[in-house]
């Protein structure tokens, strides 16, 4: 690739790329995000290549492997341009028919289309499908149309033009000012305004400054940062370069967890390509501005997502947080002024520079501008990544986009903000989703994980789960977090085992206050949130565990038992054959029974017992009925 020396040369390069591609030439895009990989998109890709070659279309139809399209529930996903016909849940065997019918003849393969759950009609185009229709995908939208390994693809959709504009028409102060006016708040946790953070770094007297991408994404159940970095690494890079220009940094880092190998690979390649084109390195686009980026892999420690710990880890040391008497934007990496922002925060920057702060503040709410990407996961029909304008009611996200709760179950709560956040109950679903609204409700925006829970989820267990996670992840540097969380975990575990005592809830509340007040970093300070919010909204579940040894959600293993209803058992033997613990006795025409001492409560018997019999029951808070005497166990004898 030729190095580009000016914005005009970038524009010429873009034109050349576009001229090379006929706009109406068919293009098959195939989602190759991590979830689709797991469902076999590689086999589908191979089948497409083979079939295109076989039908002599290899040089007339382009196959493009893209990043995550977001609709992970339905992978592998294939979209055929220019008509945007999309097919879901494909296998390699479907490919010949798709090429034959859709690519060659312009017809649709009905059985592979999305079927509207309400009307039963097949929907062919992305913009007709409810999951996509209610979204506003300004940051995530390009993911589905570009190959993350191709800088040409990014340039073709207008990539790096914000950088060209900033370097040629704007001073660093103007770039900073635009981000400040846009009121871009951090997408990685607390929602601190990026512009104000940048300004502190810009104004710091030290001439050596750094910019850092936080791609540690330790939040379980959230994967938007991964998808962006995997699917559109140049957008993140472009934002980072703009930030570096605004604050006067000449070196930057992408801190990305090693558990995301594809993200590491794609961002490393993106840096190399951008350097070759002269969009990174010395004298970027002939502007005199120089900037370099390195990738640093994190080695697996949740606390390293915290800003001060991350910087310590970047220095090659054990990543423990330090007190923030002086903010990192004034004294951060190697004690130099450092701007650290989340992946999604950086990816918003080119859009703001390109379209202006006014455009950006028109999206979202007064105090939360722009969009936010959420991962809606758990007990929800359409699992995946969605991008919506801030302020959208939680209910619309869960029902209009997420398609509601599967299996005819009732929604119980939505957990937002990860281990620092909290659970919002059903009656709060009309809450508009914004930074301040969520905090007021006792939860948090966090990184944007939304875990949907139905009636089968035990809220005490959820609180226990998060405290266990954080106890494990606490770096152990300060006592309130190290010892306090351990005590909280012990009490919550007891409650889940049915060994709760009067006064337990008060102990938990006391420990929560101390951790919130006295812990050193955000991990310890916010750790009690999941407990406090579940206690606030689901106190009755705690009380049922403590007072009645009962788990209302029938979830806590020590408080439940499986029982076969003798009146319903038809002795089909299915549960006996599948029980991994060999805990079930019975035979042909002999009613089946569970030996409670052998049963490991895996739940397989309940799952495999045919619906029309429905003989296996899960019970809690009541004694298990005694086994039948042998002479009453024959199905026929009982009539």
């Amino acid at each position: 690739m030729e190095r580009l020396h000016s914005p005009a040369e970038l524009e010429a390069f873009r034109k050349a790329v576009l001229a090379d591609r006929a706009p109406d030439q068919p293009c098959i895009t195939l989602c190759a995000g991590s979830a689709c990989h797991a469902c076999g998109c590689n086999d589908v890709a191979e089948a497409v290549r083979v079939e295109l070659a076989k039908q002599g279309l290899a040089d007339r139809v382009h196959l493009r492997l893209t990043g995550c399209h977001g609709f992970c529930e339905r992978g592998p996903i294939l979209v055929i341009q220019p008509e945007s016909v999309c097919y879901f849940q494909l296998t390699a065997a479907d490919v010949p028919e798709i090429i034959e019918k859709t690519v060659k003849a312009g017809e649709r393969v009905e059985r592979l289309l999305y079927v509207d759950p309400d009307s039963g009609d097949p929907l062919a185009r992305e913009d007709e499908i409810p999951f996509y229709k209610h979204q506003q995908r300004i940051v995530f939208g390009s993911n589905g149309s570009i190959d993350p390994k191709s800088i040409e693809d990014y340039v073709a959709i207008g990539g790096y033009s914000a950088l060209a504009k900033a370097l040629s028409e704007m001073t660093p102060e103007q770039v900073l000012d635009e981000v400040k006016r846009a009121n871009l708040r951090g997408r990685g946790g607390g929602g601190f305004p990026a512009g104000i953070k940048w300004e502190g770094t810009r104004n710091a007297p030290d001439p050596v400054k750094y910019v850092v991408v936080n791609a540690d994404e330790g939040d379980p159940g959230a994967y938007m940062d991964r998808s962006l970095l995997e699917g559109n690494p140049h957008a993140v890079l472009e934002g980072l370069i703009l930030g570096a220009y605004a604050v006067g940094a000449h070196e930057g880092y992408v801190y990305v967890r090693q558990e995301y190998p594809l993200a590491v690979e794609n961002v490393t390649l993106a840096i190399q390509k951008a350097e070759e084109l002269g969009l990174l390195g010395d004298d970027i686009l002939g502007s005199g501005f120089s900037f370099r980026v390195k990738v640093h892999r994190g080695a697996g420690a949740f606390v390293c997502g915290e800003s001060t710990a991350l910087m310590t880890a970047l220095e090659g040391r054990v990543g423990e947080p330090r007190p923030k008497y002086i903010r990192s934007n004034v004294r951060g990496l190697w004690n130099r002024p450092t701007v650290l922002n989340n992946v999604e925060t950086w990816a918003n920057v080119p859009l703001i520079i390109q379209n202006g702060a006014d455009w950006f503040t028109r999206i979202g709410t007064e105090t939360s501008s722009g969009t936010k990407i959420f991962s809606i996961v758990g007990k929800i029909t359409n699992t995946g990544l969605v991008e919506v304008p801030m302020g959208m009611p939680l209910r619309d996200i869960v029902y209009k986009i997420g398609g509601g709760i599967p299996g005819g179950k009732r929604l119980k709560a939505v957990q937002t903000g990860g281990p620092s956040g909290g659970c919002l109950p059903e009656h709060m679903l009309d809450l508009p989703v914004g930074f301040d609204e969520l905090t007021q409700a006792g939860s948090m925006m966090g990184s944007g994980g939304m875990i949907v829970m139905d009636e089968d989820t035990c809220m005490v267990d959820v609180a226990r789960y998060f405290i266990e996670f954080l106890t494990d992840e606490s770096c152990g540097k300060c006592v309130p977090c190290r010892e306090g969380l351990r005590q909280m975990l012990a009490v919550l575990t007891r409650i889940c085992r049915g060994e709760g005592r009067d006064g337990d809830l008060e102990i938990l509340e006391d420990l929560s206050v101390v951790a919130k007040e006295a812990a050193l970093c955000g991990l310890g300070k916010s750790a009690p949130n999941p407990f406090l919010s579940t206690l606030r909204y689901f106190r009755d579940e705690y009380e049922a565990h403590i007072r009645e040894n009962r788990c209302p959600a029938l979830s806590c293993k020590d408080l439940i038992a499986f029982h076969i209803d003798p009146d319903r058992c038809r002795a089909c033997g299915r549960c006996r054959r599948k029980c991994p613990a060999e805990a079930i006795s019975g035979a042909k025409n002999v009613i089946h029974q569970i030996d409670q001492d052998l049963c490991t409560k895996c739940g397989t018997c309940l799952e495999v017992c045919p619906d029309r019999f429905g003989a296996v029951r899960k019970i809690s808070g009541e004694p298990v009925p005694p086994p039948l005497p042998e002479d009453q166990r024959t199905v026929r004898a009982r009539g």
């Binding site: 957990q415 989820t457 991994p580």
Partner: protein
């Protein structure tokens, strides 16, 4: 592990202490664990005390200072998988292999680890065996998947 290979990895980055974690990650990826001789070599070349390297090797989850089994099982315990029954999957794995998370069996056949989100939440509960993802697992399917490894 071959010391010449350790040197090659260090040379890829430069013998600077800020690359310590990157070097250890590469050794771990290639060798599956961090042998004492390799760590001593890293300490010598990057001029970092061995005690600090050991502290790092135990603090970060990616590292192991003991050998691992032939097959590496990762069960996702992330929130999305948790609410969809990850504990049952983990129980089934423990039942089938006889080991707990963090352990390796005596025959060095399986190592079991829990992770907090593999980024495939839509497929939860998820587990990985040797990097291959198995989605929507039930206890019965889990035992089945493990039987296919020896």
């Amino acid at each position: 592990m071959d010391i010449a290979r350790v040197d090659q990895i260090i040379d890829r980055y430069g013998a600077d202490e800020s690359y310590l974690i990157q070097v250890l990650l590469d050794i771990q990826t290639e060798n599956n664990w961090l042998p004492q001789e390799a760590l001593e070599r890293v300490a010598e070349r990057l001029r970092v005390p061995l005690s600090r390297i050991l502290h790092i090797a135990t603090f970060y989850k990616a590292f192991s200072t003991v050998p691992k089994g032939r097959h590496r099982i990762h069960v996702c315990m992330g929130t999305a998988c948790h609410v969809r029954g990850a504990q049952r999957v983990l129980d089934a794995v423990q039942e089938a292999t006889g080991i707990k998370p963090g352990e390796t069996d005596l025959e060095l056949k399986f190592s079991l680890e829990t992770v907090n989100c593999l980024g495939c939440c839509a497929l939860g509960p998820v587990m990985e065996i040797d990097g291959k993802t198995y989605g929507k697992m039930t206890p019965a399917e889990t035992a089945e998947a493990l039987r296919n490894h020896d």
